[in-house]
């Protein structure tokens, strides 16, 4: 009772930490009983807790004892599984060294225990109250879509791509793709795909996507310089084609302008990872395979039109991009956790 009175007197401070490739975004929201009072966003050129970052966070957390630090899980050993049954989980993945949670008792998301400890250790100076999975962010962000027909959903972060296939709120497949280790993974997967090239995976509509994907991605990796040239041409030629009239489609001029060589490489890398992962989804018999036509992208980094273009042209997806303020979404999850 006394605690609730004190809680009502103080502001709540939500500190949401998003770790990017070489920087850390800290989104702070001050929340009173009436609602959000103020929010502050800052980016620090570090992925550790340096003095500047610590000082920034503590300058707000010291204002109220009711502060909550939330971190978006950035471990590479995480994912989601299409079941929540304890008996069925090992069929998909060995979770002996993982922490997992069920989402609406329909599917589960997991992460490595050691990576969780590592996150807690990294943020020991400020403490961590919540660690959220990007798959939860993705599911929450597209909650209006995942209840519908089959589609591929992707959360694109600076160095991660979290993809999930949902059909009527049921998860069919999910994978967390780490761009930092993608080259090695790509090499392995490509070798694996090359060996299984002879396999023809017959789809319902008769399109052999696997062979197309593998060949395309293989060429792209082997002759990346040609792709870069192609991109330079396509940026001019296919610019109008990319402007589909769709409500969620995000194609701002700013994004297109920023599509320089670096972002192209990154987007191609993302495309490549998605392509490989989808190939895995189609091939692996463990997963309930279905032909994907639509793809929804939650864009947290401002991807260029190249990614959309490649996904549409190479994988024949109808791609819808929706910009996501991932830090604000994490903040909303924190509030939901606290029942606000």
């Amino acid at each position: 009772m006394l605690a609730k009175i004190f809680e009502a007197l103080y502001l709540k401070v939500f500190v949401n930490i998003i770790v990017k490739r070489a920087s850390t975004v800290v989104y702070i929201e001050l929340y009173s009983k009436k609602g959000s009072v103020d929010n502050i966003n800052a980016e620090f050129e570090t992925i550790e807790v340096n003095e500047k970052l610590l000082e920034f966070i503590t300058s707000y957390t010291r204002e109220s004892p009711y502060y909550y630090i939330a971190v978006l899980d950035y471990s590479s050993l995480q994912g989601a599984l299409p079941t929540c049954s304890k008996n069925k989980l090992p069929y998909y993945y060995d979770l002996s060294d993982c922490e997992y949670k069920c989402y609406d008792d329909k599917w589960a998301y997991y992460t490595s225990k050691s990576e969780l400890y590592e996150i807690e250790k990294t943020y020991k100076a400020v403490g961590v109250d919540f660690i959220f999975s990007p798959f939860v962010v993705l599911a929450k962000f597209f909650k209006d879509k995942i209840g519908g027909h089959l589609a591929l959903y992707a959360l694109v972060q600076d160095s991660f791509v979290s993809i999930a296939v949902f059909e009527n709120s049921k998860l069919l497949y999910a994978e967390h793709l780490d761009m930092n280790t993608s080259n090695e993974v790509d090499d392995i997967l490509l070798t694996h795909d090359m060996e299984e090239e002879a396999l023809d995976l017959e789809m319902d509509d008769g399109i052999d996507l696997e062979n197309i994907d593998v060949e395309d991605s293989g060429d792209a990796i082997e002759d990346l310089s040609d792709i870069e040239d192609l991109d330079a041409i396509e940026e001019i030629e296919d610019f109008d084609d990319a402007k589909d009239v769709e409500e969620e489609l995000l194609e701002s001029d700013d994004v297109l302008d920023e599509a320089d060589e670096g972002s192209f490489n990154e987007d191609y890398q993302r495309f490549s990872l998605i392509q490989t992962s989808i190939a895995h989804f189609y091939k692996d018999e463990k997963y309930e395979s279905a032909f994907l036509e639509n793809m929804y992208i939650a864009d947290a980094v401002g991807v260029s039109s190249d990614l959309k273009k490649y996904l549409e042209e190479e994988m024949f997806f109808n791609v819808y991009i929706r910009h996501i303020e991932i830090d604000a979404e994490v903040c909303e999850l924190t509030k939901e956790e606290l029942g606000l």
Binding site: E7, P65, V128, E336, E337
Partner: protein
Amino acid sequence: MKYSYIKPRKKTPFTADVQLIVTFFSITIIMLISTYAFLLFKDYSFAKERANLMQSRIELEKNIEDMDQKIAYIKEQKALSEKVFTQNMVLKDSIANLFDLVPERITLSRADLLQNGLILYGVTPNKDVYNFMLQAPLRSIFQKTYTSFYPADGGWLHFVSTNYVNEDEGEELNSEN
């Protein structure tokens, strides 16, 4: 904990700073209360001591009164003793004077000293010796003198002389003493 992998830490308004402030104020309040309690105790102690001293004072005053009474009594006793001593001295002198009055030819056998008189028993060779040598000085002292004679062996006479002074004079004499 619906979506998070970990549980949030328990939040309390009693942060380190608040705990420090609360501790500081608690110590201050405890010290003030202790001081107040000490002063209350000392006040009670002083009040009790004062009551004891008042009681002692009353007892001492009572003792002083008793002692004053005793001193007064002793003074009275002393005065009385001095008076008795003086009276005894006067009486001794009177008796000495009385025996000085008795001539050698008259022999006293008994003398009774009264409050306001003197009764003498004795033997005299004759009345004249008695009348001239003893009765005359007795008359000068006592206002009333009565003498009776009766014969004794060898022609001598026994006499009983009863002498009184007046009441008023006797009192004056006493007061003078």
